[in-house]
């Protein structure tokens, strides 16, 4: 039987004198992430909160230190976190075409003892969840990646990964929105734009959205 949903045990830590980190748990878990997203959106409505950003299982709250204190906000977060979260609405579904010809595909396949085509097939199988947006503009941390594809990050990160690269690391997958340094394994590429600088919000994905990859013809 699954353990009952824990609604207590939120831990808050200062992130300086104008922000705090509220941790709901330490597991990569859809239910925890749903609670984090709900808590962030409840906190954003407060006048003393400037911004609240959901992590995998946490919320980082940027507050106005002229309007509140860490302790007062921590108490409010404990109250909010103990409320039953609203029924999670399924996020928008994005279908992303991928050309599975990344520079690391062969090496990944070899390390996993799979055929390259099988790596692509397994990667395109699940509907992934967007756990959080962050790191660089438009980046979404997607998961969970099937265990069969789990690999540690590259030992030596690349100094420049081309925009549109589809990558995996650990139990995560993602798409590089911009040409940036990166340590994930590049298994494919997509032409879909993740970072939309002239839209508001300037990114395709939102936390809680769902993503389905499919093999595009090369």
């Amino acid at each position: 039987m699954p353990a009952p949903l824990s609604t207590t045990g939120v831990q808050t830590h200062p992130l300086g004198d104008a922000a705090l980190l509220a941790e709901l748990g330490t597991r990569l878990d859809t239910a925890l992430n749903t609670r984090a997203i709900a808590l962030a959106s409840a906190l954003k409505k407060r006048r003393d909160v400037r911004q609240a950003v959901a992590g995998y299982a946490s919320v980082t709250v940027h507050f106005d230190p002229d309007r509140t204190t860490h302790d007062a906000l921590a108490a409010a977060i404990k109250r909010l976190a103990s409320k039953r979260p609203p029924m999670a609405e399924p996020g928008r579904l994005h279908r992303i075409p991928v050309t599975y010809d990344g520079p690391d595909l062969e090496a990944v396949a070899e390390q996993l003892g799979l055929a390259a085509a099988t790596v692509a097939e397994i990667h395109a199988r699940p509907i992934y969840r967007v756990f959080l947006i962050g790191f660089v503009p438009g980046w979404g941390y997607l998961g969970p990646l099937p265990e069969e594809l789990e690999l540690p990050r590259r030992h030596v990160p690349r100094t420049k990964v081309p925009a549109g690269s589809v990558a995996i690391a650990g139990r995560q997958t993602g798409i590089y929105p911009l040409a940036t340094p990166g340590g994930w394994h590049l298994i494919g590429r997509t032409s879909v734009k993740l970072f939309l600088p002239d839209s508001d919000p300037p990114c395709l994905f939102r936390a809680g959205d769902r993503v389905k990859f499919f093999a595009a013809r090369a």
Partner: protein
């Protein structure tokens, strides 16, 4: 909008900055904004502006500007030895420029970043609610790029306060930029360091490495061991001191990445960030542990210094 200054020489790295775009972090966009917010705010207030107006942030060297019409300007932050028509002028002071006057800087004497405010507020491209320049996205400020020779600086509107030339922020009210001890509050993952690591973090100190820019500073010195279970990525804040597996800490600055999974062992107090903003590669820096209450008092003292400029 009206044109006030022409850029004859841009300086090494000069951008338009305001107080940033805190709402954009939910999209993974760095908050950005002035690195030294005290100097940015003070320059604006001395020029008769609201604190949220945009200024020019000039790193390592100042620009050469010519006034296209009379205007009130103010310079604050790093000391680049400002001159008008070849004569030295004081920083942290409202300065009246007549049409044709030349504002130049003789050279860096201390600090990393000087701020130039113009009455009416520097105009620029607004992106996601802010005029701050984001070079990665090539948006905001002067078309998302550094100033270059031939650019014309316009102002957004009228100054909110009457133009008073010669008004000054006293020495005792300015940040002590020479004291490189940064007040910091222990972070969420401080317990990963253990007593020895904690002593090293708040000990003799570090040197700012060459890898130091608006995103953050890599620090050299004692290696910190914050090893443990891999953390799930979480949202970050400016001032956070991250410890990657190399053990070499990183101090996050205004253009920091918005999320990450490295342990955060401390966060620099907001009142100490202006001093952090003026550090350069090779500078020594240390962290001094303070309570949230002490950080709040430091913040209130800075606020009172700025409020002394609001009549």
């Amino acid at each position: 909008m009206s044109h006030v200054l022409r850029v004859e020489k841009p300086g090494l790295f000069s951008t338009v900055q305001d107080l940033g775009r805190p709402n954009a972090i939910a999209a993974g966009v760095p908050p950005g904004g002035a690195m030294d917010r005290f100097a940015h705010r003070a320059a604006n207030l001395l020029a008769g502006n609201n604190e949220i107006a945009a200024t020019l942030e000039c790193t390592l060297s100042g620009p050469e500007l010519v006034a296209l019409r009379s205007c009130l300007v103010a310079i604050a932050g790093a000391d680049f030895d400002p001159h008008v028509n070849g004569r030295p002028v004081p920083a942290w002071t409202g300065i009246f420029l007549s049409q044709g006057d030349e504002l130049t800087f003789a050279g860096r004497r201390s600090g990393a970043r000087a701020y130039i405010a113009v009455a009416g507020g520097v105009a620029g491209d607004r992106w996601l609610g802010s005029l701050s320049t984001n070079m990665l996205a090539a948006r905001g400020g002067m078309h998302g790029r550094l100033l270059k020779a031939g650019d014309v600086i316009a102002v957004e509107g009228q100054a909110s306060a009457p133009a008073i030339s010669g008004r000054q922020l006293g020495h005792h009210l300015r940040p002590d930029y020479a004291a490189h001890s940064l007040a910091a509050i222990v972070g969420p993952h401080i317990n990963r360091l253990g007593p020895e690591g904690r002593k090293a973090l708040f000990g003799a100190g570090f040197t700012v490495s060459r890898d130091a820019d608006r995103m953050g500073y890599r620090l050299e010195g004692p290696l910190l061991d914050a090893a443990g279970d891999e953390l799930l990525s979480f949202g970050l804040a400016a001032g956070a001191v991250q410890v990657p597996s190399s053990g070499q800490p990183i101090l996050l600055m205004a253009d920091h990445q918005t999320a990450g999974g490295y342990p955060v062992v401390a966060t620099v107090a907001s009142a100490a960030m202006p001093v952090a903003a003026q550090l350069l590669p090779g500078d020594e820096v240390s962290f001094a542990e303070v309570s949230l209450e002490a950080a709040r008092r430091m913040r209130a003292a800075q606020r009172a210094a700025l409020d002394s400029l609001i009549s």
